[in-house]
Symmetry: none
Subunit: 213 residues, 4 copies
Amino acid sequence: MLRPPPIRPRTKPPQERREEIMNAALRLFLKQGVAPTKIEDITAGADVAKGTFYLYFSSKDDVLGALAGRFAEELLRKITAAVQALPTGDWKGRLAAWARAAVSAYLDSLRLHDIAFYGGRPRPREGLIDNIIIDHLSKLLRDGTGARAWSIEDPQGTAVFLFGGLHSAVEEAGRKRPVNARNLTRRVEGIFVRAVGSKPTTKKRTSPRRRSP
Amino acid sequence: MLRPPPIRPRTKPPQERREEIMNAALRLFLKQGVAPTKIEDITAGADVAKGTFYLYFSSKDDVLGALAGRFAEELLRKITAAVQALPTGDWKGRLAAWARAAVSAYLDSLRLHDIAFYGGRPRPREGLIDNIIIDHLSKLLRDGTGARAWSIEDPQGTAVFLFGGLHSAVEEAGRKRPVNARNLTRRVEGIFVRAVGSKPTTKKRTSPRRRSP
Amino acid sequence: MLRPPPIRPRTKPPQERREEIMNAALRLFLKQGVAPTKIEDITAGADVAKGTFYLYFSSKDDVLGALAGRFAEELLRKITAAVQALPTGDWKGRLAAWARAAVSAYLDSLRLHDIAFYGGRPRPREGLIDNIIIDHLSKLLRDGTGARAWSIEDPQGTAVFLFGGLHSAVEEAGRKRPVNARNLTRRVEGIFVRAVGSKPTTKKRTSPRRRSP
Amino acid sequence: MLRPPPIRPRTKPPQERREEIMNAALRLFLKQGVAPTKIEDITAGADVAKGTFYLYFSSKDDVLGALAGRFAEELLRKITAAVQALPTGDWKGRLAAWARAAVSAYLDSLRLHDIAFYGGRPRPREGLIDNIIIDHLSKLLRDGTGARAWSIEDPQGTAVFLFGGLHSAVEEAGRKRPVNARNLTRRVEGIFVRAVGSKPTTKKRTSPRRRSP
DNA sequence: AATGAATGAGTATTCATTCAT
DNA sequence: AATGAATGAATACTCATTCAT
């Protein structure tokens, strides 16, 4: 009497199952976005029954969280390794290494992070509406370069960076009201100006605060 | 035949109705996030019937888009005004003004932008998972300040800004593959280092640190 | 151009729709029991879409409650009418009328009440397990009749009644603990004895518990 | 090879395991009702694995049945013992003993019986919808007492008993159609009237109703 | 005998969208 | 233009039951 060989073992180490489900979810989230992905898609992708999903996660949001956590851990590990490879004294080097490692890790998984954290709409509306703002900044940077006020190699990329940073800073500030608008503004303004390669315009401002002793 | 005068006019100028619906939607998106907001919530908030929504918009995504457009327009208007108020030659001033205006406009509507664009999850779970990464960067900045490698007043805020910028830059890059990883990395690295108050590390760098003249 | 005549009006007075759904639910609950009846069965029975159910009720339990309320109202109306038809002074007549009206109303809708209130299992297990207890009481009543201790026409029916009453009384008592077991016991005992046509065992009980004389 | 002695014996006498499962089920049925109790709750309560349940019972209904059987047996044993303790000739005494024993046994396990047999909804909605009917009867009994038509010490309790008995009688009748409505009505009516005691027990009570002091 | 991971049919519930009035 | 009752496809989630170990 022939018995079909048990192709797939009925049970697996829990951690392994969990990982498989997470991986299937990740794959689908990346491919089609979070919202349009149904629990059933995930279980089909992981080759388990629907109920099995709920043995490991309580909802789609739950996997999303697990995915985010996993990503953050890995990212931190990479960055830490990169920074520690440099001598303690080389601060700029370490900072640069930090940036490099982070960019690299993100590039490795590209849209993943965004997706994991923001629930990544299928495609942030082809052509990001922010664009009109970023383009405006980009033009300012380019014009300034033209006028030799500063020298920016890639105005568009820089504009994107600055805008993204600004956005984050304001959002973060909004998270802990009341917002000290003056401080926030000064700080952002300072980074903008320094980032294009100049000192913050200390001029007129009498003394908002600290003076060199 | 006497008709009691209609308390609420059954019809209104279309533009006005449209605005009312948008405002109701905005209010709700801000309060509870986009996904959990039902069309019916919006119409209830705008004090119109459910069907009326579809007279002005074709879907929730449609209002979201309209909201985003309106925000972007206003933002651009404010920034432009601020920049144009300065003399053409004052490039740094103009850049600073740009930043100021943008921060200010965002603060005006705080979470709005993020919500409108990212479908804002109810609240990125108090304490943004990115935090562990940002905290790491923050510590690096603080340590460097302690070691007088640079001088950062607000390491946490700066970390948030830099991380946000980095994130945007990578994301943007990912949008138009193939990514020139080398360039991207170099650019981000450069902004990081400049932002903390130094020139990009030209490697040859004789003096790691700026001295006050 | 032929238009199919609108057979079924798309909308109806809310109260009417609600009634139709309740009626469909009742019909099904009676036929197959509450648990096995799916919401979809109900909507199919009422010839409405599934969603319509939730426009009028929030769950199956909700309809069940509405059904119970409706039944109680009708029952009360019938009883009240019957009692008021008799002269105020005729107390026994009124009590008898009460009983008659209640029995009659229940018979009208037979299993309905039970179903509405207890969620009526499809069939209280053909042959009610209580039977062995009731049979025991029934035999006692019959034996007593044989011994001319009393005269009971229908021992089985009486046993059912007494057992049902006893059950209700204990259950009700259990509802408001602490239970005064002594009182409850005395009361039930008294009704038992009176119901078979005698006076309660006259009070003589001096001590709470029996002693040998 | 040394194996640590198993703390909990992996196997037990079957009868014992079975009892443990029944007890766990009973406890849960009493606490939260039958329907909301999951098989898994039961096995957790009995400290066995899910699969073990199916080694002893085939379904939830199966345990329910076993529980009911066990209860009926015990009840019958107690009643029989109580009745047999009295001399054969003392019929009223025996009837009274029957009632006492039954009440006592029920009180011992309070809600158990009802739950085991009727699938006891979590709690027949605090305040039994029947109440409006029972209250009506209760008022009639009280009024009659006031008018010295009879003397009922506890009108509410008596109403509960009579209503419960009536309900059972009708339900039982409905079980074996065709119903002889005339007989049923006469019988119930008779019990009602007898149960309140034919003559107004005028005895001790000086004034039937409260007077203002 | 006992376990508990895995299964998947069964169902309740939601909500964007339509359309007769 | 406005309404809101009605729709029903889409989906999340449950839980009794099985079975490989």
